[in-house]
């Protein structure tokens, strides 16, 4: 699965971020190559969500560099549009637009952002919706769907912007237990199709199944980064061991 020669999709160098006086990210370094799947885990407050939010500029960082497809992310946001063009993002709380139908949610970005004809956008949207298994709900409104369905719509919506990289920010944390697997299945199939992914999640089964690397963060630092097998069977640090014993 590992392709060490593939070009770097995301490169994070010495990233530092503060919320006020609070030092959330401390000298974080991470390189994700095209086609790689990273799972980021760690206790809450360890900075893992902040890390991926920095990648597509939902948060501003103060020190260090982030490169997406070799392009430097400007801190003042001047190339924000260019950076975000290739990055899809899925949120913990779905963040679907409640006043638009499922289909309209999906075609918003293609029509207004990519300036695609509406018909083509709808066609693509329907493909992605059927890929996540809710093409029959396309005319409904988000709040008429279950949590699991909403999150699948959110994934389809992100896919409609033809991203090369997908970021998942705890996509299953807000879901009832019985709905988690339907979302994970979609994510697995996405991973198998070769999408570059960074997933912040505590779903260790998912990590074992698809991840190329598991990154464990604590107190704003990457404590260890290893292949899943090694990480689960042979964690190098006491903190990772503790975390695993809590979560497994």
């Amino acid at each position: 699965m590992n392709q060490p020669s593939a070009p770097k999709a995301i490169e994070i160098v010495n990233l530092n971020k503060w919320f006020g006086h609070f030092h959330v990210l401390k000298d974080v370094n991470l390189t994700v190559r095209e086609g790689e799947r990273y799972v980021v885990c760690g206790p809450s407050g360890s900075g893992k969500s902040t890390l991926i939010r920095c990648v597509n500029q939902l948060e501003e960082h103060q020190e260090g560099d982030i490169l997406v497809d070799g392009v430097m992310v400007h801190r003042n946001g001047s190339n924000r549009t260019e950076i975000r063009k290739h990055i899809g993002m899925v949120f913990q709380s779905f963040n679907l637009f409640p006043h638009l139908t499922v289909l309209d949610n999906c075609i918003l970005s293609p029509t207004l952002g990519l300036q695609m004809p509406k018909k083509d956008a709808e066609e693509i949207a329907m493909q992605h919706l059927s890929r996540v298994g809710i093409d029959d709900q396309a005319t409904k409104y988000p709040l008429q769907l279950s949590g699991g369905q909403q999150q699948r719509v959110a994934i389809a919506r992100a896919l409609c912007m033809k991203p090369r990289i997908m970021l998942f920010d705890e996509p299953t944390s807000a879901l009832d237990p019985e709905m988690i697997s339907e979302v994970l299945d979609v994510m697995v199939s996405l991973a198998e199709a070769g999408m570059t992914m960074i997933c912040v999640t505590h779903e260790m089964g998912f990590a074992r199944q698809v991840a190329d690397r598991v990154v464990f963060m604590d107190q704003g630092e990457i404590v260890e980064s290893a292949e899943p097998q090694a990480f689960f069977e042979n964690p190098q640090y006491d903190r990772s061991q503790q975390f695993l014993s809590h979560i497994l």
């Binding site: 401390k26 964690p235 190098q236 006491d238």
Partner: protein, 446 residues
């Protein structure tokens, strides 16, 4: 798992870059983020400077503090400074209206009693706060009315005033007993009478007798107590404003609760009547209701009964306020989850038990901010009584300018009255915002 585990020692946090925290960071984030932001800061600062400078210059630096009449003020500074001596001369009237100067102490005493009555609400160890609050709204008005109005009193009137006096005694007896001894006053009385071991019915009779004794004693006291009559057409100023809004608030809360319950009732006739009342009073302006009662109330009452314009205004304000309060209460009732009704029903509680024990206490808590908001509205609305000729604070302010000594003095009394209103309303709204925050914190924690 392998044994050779390393211990993770987190790096120490570094201080944030200097330009993102502290005063500089705050200034950058809030006042000088970019060019347009900085321009707005300058514009805002200029605006504040102009307004504050103009007000200070007029009200303080150029103001006249000592003068015999308006002409003197005008000769000294013209219109560029305030003429405060006029307001000082009329200040008592702005507060008490035309109430006789030698009787003003009665108003002050009555308000002090009210404050004393309410003090137990802020005493941490007092547990019968609801009873204290209820007594203040239901019994205190009788006592206050006599202080304000005075004059001759019949038997019924005497007993009602005596109830006010006994209520006050009871409130403080309760407060002291619960604070010092940590038990209700009734238990204390039983203990004093050495009836601890007696049966319950006997204890209850004893308590009733003590209560009756208190009432009789205060009735005797009240019947020998007499105050000179001050007719309502002498009432005015802030005092009148507080009396009218006090009546409105006292009446509107229970009436609003009943109307709201009626509107939500399953009985069509009752719900229709309540809805009609609420919608009618809410869709017309207060001034039309004041006019209506001013002209129609004498027609409605049997020939021979006279009403004064204060009474008519109070009736109008009370009904108007109840309709608005009803909608506030209805909002609070709707906000309660259905589960609460179902839970109460599953316990086999009847309608009134469910409402008074389960629903209302929760709903009232949710509603407190909107109730306070309603009170603020009511307080501001009392200015309207000036249109039907009562001398509330605003009309008093207008009267300053019609006094020959201070002829044309308008800005200064209006400024003063505005400040007084602002003080009251702002205090109430800040209190309600603080309360809302505290309540929502409580909810979030649960």
């Amino acid at each position: 798992m392998s044994a050779n585990v390393e211990t993770f020692s987190p790096k120490p946090s570094r201080p944030a870059p200097a330009d993102t925290v502290g005063i500089i960071g705050w200034l950058r984030a809030n006042l000088f983020k970019d060019v347009s932001n900085a321009l707005m800061t300058i514009l805002g600062a200029y605006l504040i400077y102009v307004v504050i400078a103009a007000v200070l210059e007029w009200a303080v630096f150029n103001a006249v503090w000592d003068a015999e009449n308006r002409r003197e003020c005008l000769e000294l500074v013209g219109r560029s400074g305030a003429c405060w001596p006029g307001v000082v001369a009329w200040f008592d009237n702005l507060i008490y209206g035309l109430y006789p100067k030698d009787q003003v102490w009665r108003i002050n005493i009555a308000f002090l009693i009210l404050i004393a009555w309410l003090v137990p609400l802020w005493m941490p160890k007092v547990s019968s706060k609801i009873a204290v609050g209820l007594s203040a709204t239901l019994i205190y008005p009788f006592l206050a009315s006599y202080f304000f109005l005075g004059g001759s009193k019949g038997i019924i009137w005497t007993v009602l005033i005596a109830a006010g006096v006994s209520g006050f005694v009871w409130v403080w007896a309760t407060a002291l007993c619960e604070t010092l001894r940590g038990k209700p006053i009734t238990a204390q009385i039983i203990a004093w009478l050495k009836l601890d071991t007696a049966e319950e019915s006997k204890q209850r009779t004893a308590i009733r007798l003590v209560g009756l004794g208190l009432l009789v004693a205060s009735s005797i006291l009240v019947s020998v107590w007499s105050l000179e009559e001050v007719r309502t057409n002498f009432w005015g100023g802030l005092f009148l404003t507080l009396v009218i809004s006090g009546f409105g608030i006292t009446f509107s809360l229970p009436a609003g609760i009943l109307l709201a319950l009626g509107r939500r009732s399953h009985m069509p006739a009752i719900s229709l009547l309540c809805t009609a009342f609420i919608e009618l009073f809410r869709s017309v302006p207060l001034i039309t209701i004041l006019f209506m009662f001013n002209t129609m109330l004498p027609l409605f009452l049997p020939p021979g009964i006279e009403t004064n314009s204060l009474a008519r205004a109070i009736v109008a304000v009370c009904l108007f306020a109840s309709a608005y309060m009803a909608e506030v209460v209805r909002g609070g009732l709707q906000a309660l989850p259905n589960g609460q009704y179902e839970a109460a029903a599953s316990l086999g509680l009847g309608y009134w038990q469910t409402t008074s024990q389960v629903i209302m206490p929760q709903a009232l808590k949710i509603m407190i901010p909107s109730i306070v908001g309603n009170f603020i509205g009511l307080f501001k609305d009392t200015t309207l009584v000036s249109i039907i000729g009562l001398f509330d604070m605003m009309n008093m302010a207008r009267a300053v300018g019609e006094d020959t000594t201070w002829l044309g003095l308008l800005f200064e009394p209006f400024f003063t009255v505005t400040l007084i209103y602002f003080f009251f309303c702002f205090a109430m709204s800040s209190y309600s915002i603080r309360l809302e925050k505290r309540l929502s914190e409580g909810r979030d924690r649960n």
